[in-house]
């Protein structure tokens, strides 16, 4: 996984709550067997009209937000389906960090696995950052994971909380499966003890 350390870039304001994963990447684009290439379908229903032309009023279709690396939204971002394609599509578009008052659980896990940093900040702070973002091309935000701060264009640093385990994994870009496989003896022991205690547990047999 690609590590996340610090990022300075354009932030795009998406003033909506409950942005669900069907909006982030509609189901018809989930037919891929790859992880990459989904960026062009990001927010497809909001970004393009029925003929496939860009909607001028959608934020990511406007300069400088076409180059956004940070997205700022409202409550419960990423709710709905478990599709990791939502994180892949954001990443493929170039978004490395989403800032919102709250996030849905599965989306948060998926983001962490893909080096996409989610920063939860109170609504009023998100509103203030959106106002910053609306100042245009020079309004770049810095997100510094090591220091756990978002630095506004004014230079003011806003602190955020993050789970220490998640932070460490993001900073180092760790391969979680490799780490777990190193604990295989514990898994073996668990399985053996379980089999001895509850031999009735059935296997899948078709």
């Amino acid at each position: 996984m690609r590590p996340f350390t610090t990022l300075t870039g354009v932030a795009a304001p998406l003033r909506a709550a409950n942005v669900d994963t069907d909006q982030i990447i509609p189901a018809r684009f989930l037919k891929t067997v790859e992880r990459t290439g989904l960026g062009r379908h990001l927010f497809a229903g909001l970004r393009y009209d029925a003929e496939g032309a860009e909607r001028r009023d959608f934020v990511l279709n406007r300069e400088p937000y076409r180059r956004a690396e940070v997205l700022i939204a409202l409550e419960n971002f990423g709710c709905g389906s478990s599709r990791e394609h939502a994180a892949w599509a954001l990443d493929d578009f170039g978004i490395r960090c989403v800032i919102a008052p709250s996030f849905a659980d599965i989306f948060a896990t998926n983001s962490a696995k893909n080096g996409l940093l989610l920063v939860a900040l109170p609504r009023a702070t998100c509103e203030a950052l959106m106002a910053d973002a609306e100042m245009g091309a020079n309004a770049r935000l810095t997100v510094d994971l090591e220091r756990q701060v978002v630095v506004r264009p004014s230079g003011e640093a806003v602190a955020f909380d993050i789970d220490p385990g998640a932070k460490a994994r993001l900073l180092e870009g760790l391969d979680e499966i490799g780490e777990t496989l190193a604990r295989a003896p514990a898994i073996d022991r668990f399985e053996a003890a379980r089999a001895a205690r509850e031999p009735w547990r059935p296997a899948i047999r078709l």
Binding site: A27, N76, S82, D105, N110, I177, F190, R194, W200, I204
Partner: protein, 466 residues
């Protein structure tokens, strides 16, 4: 210390505690489908890893599959590739797979319980948010993303932080014409779309005990629409009777040994929940959603709400956007809204009980002029049983299309989808913008309510028809 059902299952599956305080949690059952697994198998292949326990894994194709005719295979090239990729992966990694032409094929959350693959006290995961369905059996079941699918395939475990617990107590009894789906929509309207975030819900109370297993599955299925990690119901005699004899369930002395363990799972007297919510099921009317979030359910006797009554400016804006998308006006009676399409199906409501309820309403009636009605069973076994009971004939005679099993118009990944502006009465679980097809408008309701909408051509209080 008294423990909740959730804590008991959790404690029973902790393999190791990690330095960050998270647990390495053992996963008993891993259900796999074609949409969220290709990249996971590819990851295994690239790293030279194997599937640790194929015999704990069950794969099936459901999201992309045609429900009209499979004789000629899958016409749409990308859907075909996804199903073929699954078939290649299960062969290479020796994972049990229910083929498309097998009578047991169906929606993963319908066939898991039906085949006895998901059982009480288990941890069950799937790369699909509606894995919460299996919680109806008293299993800790939750959806995961593709990276986690790969993690489970490779290690049979997941790294998890414990959730908070939310007890939803449902008192009283459901009235005539009111079903588990109405209860689920009422619970959602109470909790809100993020009301369960970070929590595992345990449903309890008289109304829950009285539900059959299909109803319990509908209720647990929609836990994720409140943002909850999982929904749980303590296994009881109804559960045990339903499981006994299922193909993969333990048999004879093994079954009795299993039941003895399953009986110990119920939350202990005095166990502490982080939160509690209460609802009187006797007060719940047949429900229908008006907006583009599943928590916008209202009694069918209500009117479309006005943005002016919203609690704050942001929710007023959100409401306005929803009304605009849905093509509704404030104050319009819900029972006055005409529909173009009716969809009875999905992992929420495509079990035999759902088709019995729909057929009871449709019997001797006709689907209204200009309405297209689809009935899509959740599995081949449901389909076969519905045909044996004469339900398929009743629905077909009424003018429903009687389809092959799959997710179908729940999310429109196959050819079954709404056209822009079309309005659908749907027994599925999500009414998000474009969920059933770009520009499509979805009203969530129960199978009986869906059948009522089909025969009258508008959202209708089913109590007037039964």
């Amino acid at each position: 210390m008294p423990r909740t059902l959730y804590q008991k299952i959790w404690d029973d599956h902790v393999v190791d505690v990690l330095p960050g305080g998270e647990a390495l949690l053992y996963i008993d059952r891993h259900l796999v489908h074609e949409v969220t697994s290709p990249q996971a198998f590819e990851g295994l292949r690239q790293a030279g890893r194997r599937v640790r326990r194929p015999e704990a894994t069950l794969a099936v194709a459901d999201h992309n599959v045609p429900t009209l005719d499979r004789g000629g295979g899958i016409a749409e090239p990308q859907s075909r590739l996804q199903v073929q990729t699954l078939e290649r992966n299960v062969a290479e990694f020796a994972v049990p797979y229910v083929p498309l032409d097998d009578v047991r094929q169906g929606i993963v959350h319908v066939i898991g319980p039906e085949l006895g693959a998901s059982l009480p006290g288990m941890t069950v995961v799937c790369g699909d948010s509606h894995t919460s369905t299996h919680g109806a059996l008293g299993a800790l079941a939750f959806g995961v993303g593709t990276s986690e699918v790969e993690h489970v395939l490779s290690t049979q475990t997941l790294v998890q932080a414990p959730s908070r617990t939310l007890k939803v107590e449902l008192t009283g009894r459901l009235g005539r014409g009111v079903y588990a789906k109405d209860l689920a929509l009422a619970v959602l309207a109470t909790l809100g779309a993020a009301g369960g975030t970070g929590h595992v819900i345990e449903y309890a109370g008289e109304a829950v005990s009285a539900l059959d297993m299909a109803g319990r599955m509908s209720l647990c299925n929609m836990s994720i629409e409140a943002g909850a990690r999982a929904g749980l119901i303590a296994p009881d005699e109804t559960t045990f009777a339903w499981i006994e004899g299922r193909p993969m369930a333990p048999r004879g002395a093994d079954f009795r040994a299993a039941v003895a363990v399953w009986r110990t799972l119920a939350s202990d007297e005095g166990a502490a929940f982080d939160r509690t919510a209460r609802l009187d099921a006797g007060e719940v009317a047949p429900m229908v959603t008006w907006g583009t979030s599943p928590d916008t359910g209202l009694p069918i006797t209500a009117c479309v709400p006005s943005p002016d009554d919203a609690p704050d400016a942001a929710s007023a804006l959100q409401r306005r956007r929803m009304l605009d998308y849905m093509g509704l006006s404030p104050g319009q009676p819900l029972a006055d809204v005409p529909v173009d399409v009716v969809f009875i199906g999905s992992c929420t409501n495509a079990r035999i009980e759902d088709f019995r309820a729909a057929a009871a309403v449709a019997k001797g009636r006709r689907v209204a002029e200009g309405v297209r009605a689809l009935a899509v069973p959740g599995s081949g076994l449901v389909r076969r049983q519905a045909e044996a009971e004469g339900l398929a004939d009743i629905l077909a005679e009424a003018g429903f299309e009687w389809r092959l099993p799959g997710c179908s118009m729940c999310l429109g990944m196959n050819e079954d989808r709404l056209s822009p502006g079309q309005r659908c009465a749907s027994t599925s679980n999500r009414n998000f913008e474009g969920r059933q097809g770009p520009g499509g408008r979805t009203h969530l309701l129960s199978p009986a309510m869906a059948a009522a909408a089909a025969v009258t051509g508008r959202l209708t209080d089913v109590r007037a028809l039964i």
